[in-house]
Symmetry: C3
Subunit: 307 residues, 3 copies
């Protein structure tokens, strides 16, 4: 735990196979313990700040649940408009205040790099819960854990990421993790929403490819990771509709997937996955959501050196 | 407790006299226990989700207080605009996420039927804290308990409901409860805001009547239940003012009430009850608010089978 | 503790030297205890309401942290728009509801006098966390404690208050405290934003002076207390810029201060203090923020008679 212990988690690049393995083991442990006991008594002397400068449900609620299931306590905000940010306070000043009250800060912020800026002034650990179109490393942990649970290993998997890869921070983080395990990655997106250069540079260039065609890869992959395409990313309504119509998994599309493959999505979804496939045994997005709490319990105890 | 135990509460029609009697007994018990101990240790292994898709103070704060007074923990939101709902997520997807983190979901939603939709996908109990112009069964419980405390029985009471009976979900729920106790119900409202047909059908038709005149019934009833009339329900300003001016309880009006009758209101009030009558011994609306916490403590422990 | 015990704190005028001394001692005690134990077990039977009718980060989070560090529990809201206030409920009705659920109410409200109005209807103690342009007595306690920590006494200090003294509630409260200790006060502001008459009347008139010139006093004082000047307080953009440009502490300005003086600010700051002086040993604003939690822990235990 030396590289995470008492430290911050800003980027998935901080997570090596040893740490991930520890996270997975702990998450499985907490899954059992919560079913048995409901609330544990591990962080009952700790206070977590939950600072969401940008709306979130899943990430915020699962982090706050994780802390409470560990016996810990939470303060924070879910909406920057009710805070002194609205009065023009800098992020740095906000962090230098909140770190005085709490033992750990979980934060989401609309700007890429915000979590790193927080780390630079904070005396307590920072967990990046999403920074603009940067990273979302705790989501990558739960995604990786879900794959691990289903496929029993992350080694050498074929994984397609589909949709808005330019702004999709969850895929920015996850592909860095998979890259450590000799995965073969397929980036499926409109050209204008391709995986950004700063991420591609971190990957083994012989082990990924880029395409616009979902059709090309859907029957090949072990993991199909869908993301939301947001209307406001496109120049025209027509362009939006063109891609929106293509990257959709419904009952027809899912038949093309391998029988032992899995279908993932960070949620919330809009139209990318039709609810008619929710009951398909390959659909793992609600399992991802569920794992979010256990993986975050693991991260919280590791940060505090109580794992 | 078989019909509520480990289940959801969506409609007051689920509550029979046996359950109500148990709720009243428990609520009285918790009233004493909280006065003695402040916080109990009954649900300290439980995490409650408090999902308010629509603003609320009284219901939300009394539910969250109830859970905390029982030693339990709470996560949630009080404003749908800070959640993934704003990103277009369906209610069903939100519930299928939150049920993974928590042991129980309390929810308010602007659409009638929302709580039932939640029940259909949830693996944890749902408590309906108001669904549009549908029902508000936990409010009905606290109203019934308040009447029980004051009148020592719910049997055969004459009860008038006054104001907006069409959209007033609290009265939709309460009249279903009173109907079980041979009450005589008077529905006093503008014709356009009368009790809806789907509620009237559930009642014994020989035991209710409808009128526009408060004057007609005010001196007869054991319970006068006022509700707020919202301007936006009317077609014209003139029509609004006409009714707003009529259904008001002030010092003059209260003199017409029987000396042992009680005056109720779910709150918040605007002009329907003049604060000058707050000190009248018949005014029970703050007692209702107070009972809200104890009745919800009762419901929470019953749902968890810890009663 | 007779004058605070089981009572409300609305104005700094309620705090005499004996009470302040007790607050300081307790705050120091909690600073040590939190470092050792994280969470204490002093108010574990108490539920605090945190009612912020107006946005706040520092005050709200430090109060909620204080309560949680004492083992207590919190309910409330941070945004009046999600409450029944939006439906037209009066402050009095809101308080008469919340006092039924909780053991103490901490409140911030945009109107001067709101906390006193709450006291008049409440059966539980009210702690004023800022009422419009009225007072902010708990901020004054933490300011006084910070001065005490640094200067070892409040006796006979020279203190300048700079900026918007008309609407700045923190200075309204703090100067009443300092007045008890034979301080010499300098009120430095644009004429239109001078200290209001209702505060001046409470002070020893031979021990304060008013000026527009920061230059005049900066090298004389033991404490320089800066406040934020808000654009909307001025009639014209030009007038705003004139003063905004004058009342600024940067690396140049701070050299004029005495070497053993201290620089304070209630935060959030905008431009009044340049971050380049944050590392100067006289800069105490983050220390103030830190002390906020410990001082509020002191006040909470004193109000509950557990000190």
């Amino acid at each position: 735990m030396s590289s995470l212990f008492n430290q911050s988690l800003v980027s998935a690049s901080q997570l090596d196979q040893g740490l991930l393995s520890q996270i997975f083991t702990l998450a499985s442990h907490y899954k059992r313990k919560v079913a048995e006991q409901g609330v544990l008594d591990i962080l009952s002397d700790k206070l977590m700040a939950s600072l969401f400068f940008e709306p979130s449900t899943r990430t915020r609620l699962s982090f706050e649940s994780a802390m409470q299931r560990l016996g810990g306590r939470v303060i924070g905000f879910s909406d920057a408009s009710t805070t002194s940010l609205a009065k023009g306070e800098t992020l740095e000043d906000t962090i230098k205040m909140v770190m005085q009250y709490t033992d750990l800060i979980v934060m989401r912020h609309p700007q890429k790099g915000a979590a790193q800026r927080a780390v630079e002034v904070s005396s307590v650990p920072i967990l990046n819960a999403g920074d603009g179109d940067g990273e979302h490393p705790t989501q990558a942990c739960l995604d990786a854990y879900t794959i691990f649970e289903q496929k029993h290993s992350l080694q050498g998997l074929k994984v397609a990421f589909v949709g808005d890869l330019k702004f999709g921070r969850t895929v920015h983080s996850l592909c860095q993790i998979l890259n450590q395990y000799n995965s073969e990655l397929f980036f499926v997106s409109p050209k204008t929403l391709g995986m950004p250069e700063w991420i591609l540079q971190k990957l083994d260039s012989s082990r990924y490819s880029q395409t616009e065609s979902l059709e090309e890869v859907i029957s090949e992959v072990d993991v199909l990771y869908m993301t939301r395409i947001q209307k406001e990313r496109f120049k025209s309504e027509d362009e939006y509709k063109k891609y929106k119509g293509v990257y959709i998994i419904n009952r027809d599309a899912i038949t093309k997937m391998k029988s032992d493959s899995i279908l993932m999505h960070p949620l919330p979804r809009v139209d990318e996955i039709d609810p008619e496939v929710d009951t398909d045994s390959r659909a793992m997005y609600f399992e991802q959501a569920k794992n979010g709490m256990y993986v975050r319990m693991a991260l919280l105890t590791m940060v505090f050196g109580k794992a």
